[in-house]
């Protein structure tokens, strides 16, 4: 299922150039996470390439190297009791994570598609996606991600600046739905910004 989501994300252009990484919790006590290895093409991901890591991001099964961002996956799993974490690099999430960085995040409000996010019952919802500064090395942990998750306990995703989207869910199905919902909304938001006045004037 991780490999299938990888192929779908690659086909949509959300995981080009071996970017992106995907994980799912496979055991809780002790914590065990299935995760895509570093540097692997998500369009050709085979189930046997998936690694298993422990709660310290050490590989316990499989032969590849875990992504440096495994620490972010672990931080999300713990902060949100997530069963799956998906990280993609789409054009729109990358672009907005940079252009909106001065504001610290992106607000999305009023769209029906927001109801695809777990627990959201009305389009009159305001989703705030925090933007966290990117870093070179996450191997020592991801305190800035943890802080953003704590500061925004209702957020269904977060962006790393110039880097892309992280979202999650109770299980892979829900995480995949959140991925599609947020990538859609970021594209709407990005395109809307390209010509808001023109759009309103002509109306």
């Amino acid at each position: 299922m991780l490999s299938e989501i990888g192929r779908e994300a690659y086909a949509r252009g959300w995981a080009l150039g071996t970017s992106g990484n995907l994980s799912a919790v496979v055991g809780l006590d002790p914590l065990r996470i299935a995760i895509t290895p570093s540097g692997v093409d998500k369009g050709r991901l085979a189930p046997e390439q998936i690694l298993e890591i422990d709660g310290d991001a050490r590989p316990v099964r499989g032969s590849g190297r875990p992504s440096d961002e495994a620490a972010i996956h672990l931080a999300v799993v713990r902060a949100r009791n997530a069963g799956a974490v998906l990280h993609t690099h789409s054009v729109w999430s990358t672009l907005l994570s940079e252009s909106c960085a001065p504001a610290g995040g992106i607000a999305i409000h009023g769209y029906e598609m927001l109801k695809g996010l777990e627990g959201v019952r009305t389009h009159d919802h305001r989703e705030w996606l925090p933007i966290v500064e990117n870093r070179q090395d996450w191997s020592g942990g991801a305190p800035s991600v943890r802080a953003a998750l704590e500061a925004h306990p209702d957020a269904h995703g977060l962006l790393l600046r110039g880097h892309g989207l992280y979202t999650w869910g109770r299980d892979l199905g829900q995480a995949r739905r959140h991925l599609e919902v947020l990538e859609f909304l970021l594209e709407v938001r990005g395109r809307f910004r390209a010509a808001p006045q023109a759009a309103e004037k002509e109306a």
Copy 2:
């Protein structure tokens, strides 16, 4: 056939995140409508997931929950004698349903593609797609949709604000053609707005 249209719409990005719903009339007396259930992935829609509802949106066959928007499907079927109703969430219909909301609708005029709409014989046709305010709960019926359909008896589609497109047809084939025609025209319209002056000046 509903499942095939669901997969096509999903592939084009018009039904991400379990959004969208599709229906077809399967009996008239009493009224019976086949409809996609709530919360189902349109890219993986299996024929056996399709429900059947009666004229009060109560399920009479199948095991899922009908969409809250079943009332809109019923309103369209009755107002237009439609045999099929298709609802999608594309980026462009979502974006324009928001940016053009102050005008109450979107006018599309002069495009050959308009002749793909039933009964339209010339590109010199002006299609008015009304925009209806979105609501949280449609279970009690869809009076605002009914009112828009009555006020614009020639419209081949309507938009819910911040939500997406509804279109319909005598049968599924015609509804699918209207879907493609209107999504195409909304994209042209949306892109045109991004740079109308630049386009005209350089010409």
Copy 3:
């Protein structure tokens, strides 16, 4: 082969909603042209749906109705000795055919991709695509298309205003190459116009 090109064009969004039509000369004396029938879905085109018409656009084989635009195909075949004529409705050709109509055509200059057009040996070529006013009824012939082809004997394509692109070639392979080349260049041109200043300033 016509059906294969139809499916490709549909998949790229260049022939949605049963739009577009495709033809290939199958006999010269007397003139016989294989052509897609009116109102057929180009994404599901079966070889047996292709019609054959004579030099007056009358069907001589097959059971569908020829497109009203068969007269345009005949005009192109005669003016250019074309072996195949392809007509598509992409978003960018539709948009530019409208925005550039006051100028009477679209100039494309300096792109390497131009060398994909038959007889063009250098990127320093200036291709002029004339824009012809759209009409409701082409059944009586296409004098405005003939006039544009005569006035621009080097053009590899032409646009109908608000309608789309016509291109052609010695055979289907060449016509298909011209289609891809021109649709590509129209997209480049359309996107360039959206932000030429921004692009130059930042450079």
Copy 4:
């Protein structure tokens, strides 16, 4: 593998109209390069269409004509010790190669995706993609490409003006990763330029 990359690039719209060419070193002493022939559809590339050329771009195996740009492939192989060279014509690389030509190149800085380029360890990397003037005839060699490669020894790609992208790698896998990384970044860059102020203001 060349044919597979050709089909992928075609499907994404990076090699329409028989544009693009792909090569891989198959022998070093004497130098032998497998390369796609001139004028071939990259979406239908069959392994048996691939040619083999020597270090003077003369065919030594296969029946087609090598691309006029074989000299560029040879220049890249020699300057970079590349095992594979990929040349594509995407909309964004074409557009930016023209709009940024006055600056002599395109700087890309701060994006995580840059780490997909060999040897880049941090997103805080500044990639400079030189833009070389396009020419009609490369058969006599590619001194301007050689000069650009020497002047920018760290560049992972270069653009020909109005023409497209060249990138390379130690082997085909790495070259393909560089292609996806650079095409992604050029799209981000191109879209960002369309509305940088709007994006920042609204944030």
